[in-house]
């Protein structure tokens, strides 16, 4: 439940930002960031609809990449030979 996902800010209206990650758009509250800290184009880590911290574009991209790999099960790490055995 504590996982945050990096998203890119598309537009900002008051404390609400329209954010995008991997083609999915969401309204995200910027209320927990310092005022004016996050602008369109910036990347934020989002948890339960709230931006909890800023993140650089490069870091956001590498996080997405790794989450993708993890979720597709395509990790380059050796799998346990026989789980549960």
């Amino acid at each position: 439940m504590c996982l945050g996902i990096p998203m890119q800010i598309k537009s900002v209206e008051g404390f609400i930002a329209r954010c995008e990650a991997k083609g999915v758009e969401r309204d995200v509250s910027l209320f927990m960031l310092a005022e004016g800290e996050a602008r369109p184009g910036d990347y934020v880590v989002v948890h339960v609809g709230y931006a909890i911290q800023m993140i650089t574009e490069q870091e956001a991209r590498s996080a997405w990449e790794l989450y993708d790999q993890m979720l597709s099960g395509d990790t380059s790490l050796p799998k346990e030979a026989n789980p549960g055995a």
């Binding site: 439940m1 504590c2 927990m32 909890i52 993140i55 979720l71 990790t75």
Partner: protein, 363 residues
């Protein structure tokens, strides 16, 4: 930064002799570790132990019962994070055991993914009382505090059930816990600052490192604590500097402090842990669902506050056993028919191990 592969090579080069037990306290960490198959990729001396990292799993049975009873007997809409809906309380089978069952029996129970959804529902249905059953750790309670600070519609109240992570680890360590190093939760530290975990190093002289959620960051943190231990130079490392900064998120922490006081709080199956819960401050008593609705807690119920009969979640949560050491893991207890909260929640170690293909050990 090195990738997970390179860090693993470094770890295999370390002159490890004795077993090192590394505890993590975050369901997200456990998921990455298990999905990436890290246990199998590490030297056999390194044990990775999932600890108290699932807020749903330790959500007090009494609070859950209270939420179910409010949903059933009051004319309200009860909203909660989706994971909470299938967690069972200890009542006889014919009675309502979960929020999901309450819904199928006519109660208006709705899953939400964000505190702002609770506000939206309350604004759209002004004539109806809406109760937000708010469970979660610091990362989740900060947005709840933000929601409160932005002002709630008068028909919205909060049933508080939030917890702090570090006091559970402190309790384990004070009791002489069986682990040698800690991987600290990255998004809790994003909000609260890494300093919250200084006590592990300063008071208990154990290596610790804050980690993010990718295998890269996790393996870096594991390497850090192993190396610290070998060299005898321990400190709190930050292996997630992208978002974890000194002091955390000051705005979020100030909001937490303005909305909540820190209270002694119950953890399901564990008991009361001092100063481990978030309670509403007095100026917010008007939004306290506990004051707005009758107290339904019935102290005569059997196994009140405990984990379900036969379920070993309490031992799993405290890192005393691995999920597959529970006698009914994967047999009587599966995600389809979960017996305990650790099999219900996406953050629960039992659920994570099952999803990654773990099956019962005792064949």
């Amino acid at each position: 930064m090195l990738n997970a592969h390179r860090w693993l090579e470094e770890i295999h080069r370390l002159p490890l002799r004795d077993t090192v037990r590394v505890m993590n306290v975050c369901g997200g960490h456990e998921r990455s570790i298990t999905l990436a198959g890290l246990r199998g990729a590490l030297p056999t001396q390194v044990e990775l132990i999932p600890g108290p990292g699932c807020p749903v799993c330790i959500c007090p049975e009494r609070d859950l019962y209270q939420a179910i009873q409010i949903a059933l007997s009051e004319p309200v809409t009860l909203v909660a994070f989706g994971d909470m809906l299938r967690v069972p309380v200890n009542v006889p089978r014919r009675e309502t055991r979960t929020l999901e069952q309450a819904r199928s029996r006519g109660a208006d129970v709705r899953p939400i993914a964000s505190p702002s959804e609770a506000v939206t529902i309350a604004r759209t249905e002004r004539e109806r009382d809406v109760v937000f059953f708010a469970a979660g750790f610091e990362t989740t309670m900060a947005p709840v505090a933000a929601m409160i600070e932005q002002g709630l519609p008068p028909n919205l109240s909060v049933l508080m059930s939030g917890r702090l992570t570090w006091p559970a680890v402190a309790m384990l360590l004070d009791a002489g816990a069986a682990f040698d190093a800690l991987v600290a939760p990255g998004h809790v530290a994003t909000i609260m600052g890494p300093e919250q975990w200084d006590f592990v190093v300063e008071r208990h002289h154990l290596p610790a490192a804050v980690a993010g959620f990718t295998p890269d960051s996790l393996v870096a943190a594991i390497y850090s604590v192993l190396r610290q231990k070998l060299e005898g130079k321990i400190f709190l490392d930050n292996c997630y500097p992208e978002v974890v900064r000194a002091g955390g998120n000051a705005t979020a922490r100030a909001m937490l402090a303005r909305s909540f006081k820190i209270v002694d709080a119950e953890w399901r199956g564990v008991g009361v842990i001092p100063k481990s819960g978030f309670g509403l401050r007095r100026q917010y008593s008007h939004i306290d669902a506990r004051l707005r609705f009758a107290d339904h807690v019935d102290e005569s119920r059997k196994r009140i506050g405990e984990m379900p009969q036969g379920c070993e979640c309490a031992s799993v949560v405290l890192g005393r056993i691995y999920p597959d050491q529970c006698r009914i893991f994967g047999t009587a207890c599966t995600p389809r028919n979960p017996v305990g909260p650790c099999m219900v929640s996406d953050e629960g170690a039992c659920r994570i191990w099952w999803s990654a293909g773990r099956r019962p050990t005792a064949a």
